[in-house]
């Protein structure tokens, strides 16, 4: 008797499934939204997917689209170089909060200012997960990590980075900037789809931060995981479109 295959986006790469993300991890949900968006826009053959280091790296062969690995923080310049060299490609960079807001922040900031025609998807799970749960730029005040064993002290470690707000400020018109959450799948998919469309139309820089879950490093059960995402993270990081060339933002 053959097993029933769950429905998968056409742009997913079946041989790499089941994927390797931890149970309860939000990455799979983000990547499902991205896969469905690629399918609906019918851009599988011209999309290039670039992934950062960290948990985002587990997506390197996730899609049946041409994909490339980079270095920690360097996905942005690799995709920028690719897009500049061949503007026909739809270049999608996928990274975590450490790669985007910390080690690769100069690339993110300057690419945004230059309004590079790439789409970046940044997964915010409030910690460096692959290296064992250290402080991230997005770790919430008071949140324990392996390098903030007594909780994030904002006097010592500063406040969490609010990335989309910063990027919305520094990008010119034509940029698309939003924050989504894996707790609102349909909205997240809409945001990701618009971020792709924005690149296809050549309007400008497109950026979606996705609030995501990391029960492994949060050490939370499903109830606690969802509570942390919806109660803690979503109240610190406002979800919605911050900047959009497609009319009034969706809140």
């Amino acid at each position: 008797m053959s097993a029933v295959q769950p429905a998968m986006p056409k742009s997913w790469y079946a041989p790499s499934k089941p994927h390797k993300f931890c149970p309860g991890c939000g990455h799979g949900i983000v990547l499902k939204a991205l896969g469905e968006a690629i399918d609906e826009l019918n851009i599988q053959n011209q999309t290039v997917f670039g992934c950062d280091i960290g948990c985002s790296l587990l997506s390197w062969n996730f899609f049946a689209v041409d994909s490339t690995q980079t270095h920690h923080g360097r996905t942005t310049p690799v995709m920028v170089g690719m897009k500049r060299a061949n503007p026909e490609l739809i270049c999608v960079g996928y990274m975590g909060d450490g790669g985007g807001y910390s080690i690769g922040s100069q690339h993110l900031v300057n690419s945004a200012i230059r309004n590079e025609k790439v789409t970046l998807i940044l997964v915010n799970n409030t910690n460096y997960a692959m290296t064992g749960g250290q402080l991230a730029p997005t770790t919430l005040p008071g949140q324990k990590t392996e390098t903030t064993p007594y909780g994030r002290d904002v006097e010592k470690q500063g406040y969490p980075t609010r990335g989309p707000e910063m990027i919305a400020t520094i990008t010119p018109d034509g940029a698309y900037v939003a924050r989504a959450t894996v707790s609102k799948f349909r909205q997240m998919k809409t945001f990701i789809k618009r971020a792709l469309q924005n690149q296809m139309e050549g309007n400008g820089f497109s950026f979606v931060e996705c609030l995501s879950t990391c029960p492994t490093n949060w050490r939370t059960n499903p109830q606690q995981t969802w509570d942390f995402l919806e109660d803690q993270m979503e109240s610190y990081f406002a979800v919605g479109e911050i900047k959009s060339p497609f009319g009034k933002g969706e809140k």
């Binding site: 041409d66 994909s67 490339t68 690995q69």
Partner: protein, 362 residues
């Protein structure tokens, strides 16, 4: 692609300008760069010329980005390059390492300046170790070291062909003197001279429908297991050793009966050439051996020169404190010839420096 040069033209230029013209002639599509002395005029001239010939340029936020944007551009199947020096070369070792791991045909021009740290903006040959073996890999790179303006033109064109033919990151190493000196040379269209231009081939954005005509490309540089990486590195080395004999280049003069061989690379070779001629005029049997490729290293060729000459001594002359000399020691290990140095880190070497040193040694 419109040709910037037709026929052959006699020109009077600086080394940096020549790099820009040669990259155009080699059909480079795009340059990514970040300002650092002494390479700036490569960007100045590329940005003046590129729009006239429909080529592109991006000034990135730093050298890390310049290196990685080049890595992205070549994956998209476009001939891309960068240029840097000193601390910029240090920062670019990260992308150069990725290019090494993924066999990306990047081209980088290194105009060496004094080090360590910011050192001087002037001149040195202190980026030999960094350019040949920098990064957390095994040095699977191709490094040319030029000594004349004509060579800068010839070897920048060759570097693009080498990179795309063999798919190893390829470097043309000059220095602050070569960058800024001005002298006459011939610039030309390589194809008119019968030099084929190696085609660029994309690694992503490939033709055909995924799942119908082809599988998706999944390019990687990180591996889960020691054994997986081991296989990859051994395969890199096997491929590198296989192409090395076709890539290696050197220049040898008057070594047949030399009792001392003067060994040098880059701009110092000019002084070595003059010094060896003068020594011969004075009845001293000196020979000249120059590394055009520092990676792969012409080791067997040097061993042969030592053997046939019966030379008792080698004098390594370089504007660093032994970076070439260390390469020589490891590559000709076992030879009994005495290896001496004229080592002047970050300082120019002229013919009489070498002449005097040889006299002192014999």
């Amino acid at each position: 692609m419109e040709k910037p040069i037709t026929g052959t033209m006699k020109a009077f230029m600086t080394g940096n300008e020549i790099v820009a013209w040669a990259a155009l002639a080699a059909q480079a599509d795009i340059m990514f760069g970040y300002p650092i002395t002494p390479q700036n005029e490569i960007m100045h001239y590329w940005t003046r010329l590129a729009p006239k010939y429909k080529r592109e340029f991006l000034q990135t936020e730093d050298e890390i980005s310049a290196g990685f944007t080049v890595c992205g551009a070549v994956q998209a199947g476009r001939k891309a390059f960068t240029a840097t020096a000193g601390p910029g070369n240090v920062l670019m070792q990260e992308p150069f390492g990725m290019a090494e791991a993924m066999r990306l045909p990047i081209v980088a021009v290194i105009q060496q300046r004094g080090g360590p740290s910011s050192g001087t903006v002037v001149y040195s040959q202190q980026e030999v170790t960094l350019t040949t073996y920098g990064g957390n890999g095994e040095g699977h790179r191709i490094v040319y070291s030029t000594s004349t303006h004509q060579e800068i033109f010839d070897y920048v064109i060759k570097a693009f062909n080498t990179a795309w033919k063999y798919r190893f990151p390829t470097f043309v190493m000059g220095d602050g003197y070569q960058a800024k000196m001005r002298e006459p040379l011939e610039i030309y269209d390589p194809e008119e001279r019968g030099l084929a231009i190696e085609p660029a081939r994309p690694l992503v954005g490939l033709p055909g429908s995924i799942g119908v005509d082809r599988e998706p490309a999944h390019l990687c540089n990180i591996y889960s297991l020691e054994e997986e990486l081991y296989e990859v590195v051994l395969e890199l080395d096997r491929a590198y050793q296989e192409i090395a004999p076709q890539v290696v280049e050197y220049e040898e003069k008057m070594c047949d009966d030399a009792e001392i061989i003067v060994l040098s690379h880059g701009v110092v070779s000019r002084a070595a050439d003059d010094a060896v001629k003068t020594l011969r005029e004075k009845g001293i049997n000196a020979g000249y051996f120059r590394h055009i490729t520092l990676r792969p290293f012409p080791a067997q060729q040097l061993r042969d020169a030592i053997k046939k000459s019966g030379a008792r001594k080698i004098l390594v002359a370089e504007s660093s404190y032994g970076q070439l000399m260390r390469l020589v020691r490891q590559e000709i290990y076992g030879e009994t010839v005495e290896i001496c140095g004229l080592l002047k880190p970050g300082v120019g070497i002229v013919d009489h420096d070498i002449f005097d040193k040889v006299k002192e040694l014999l």
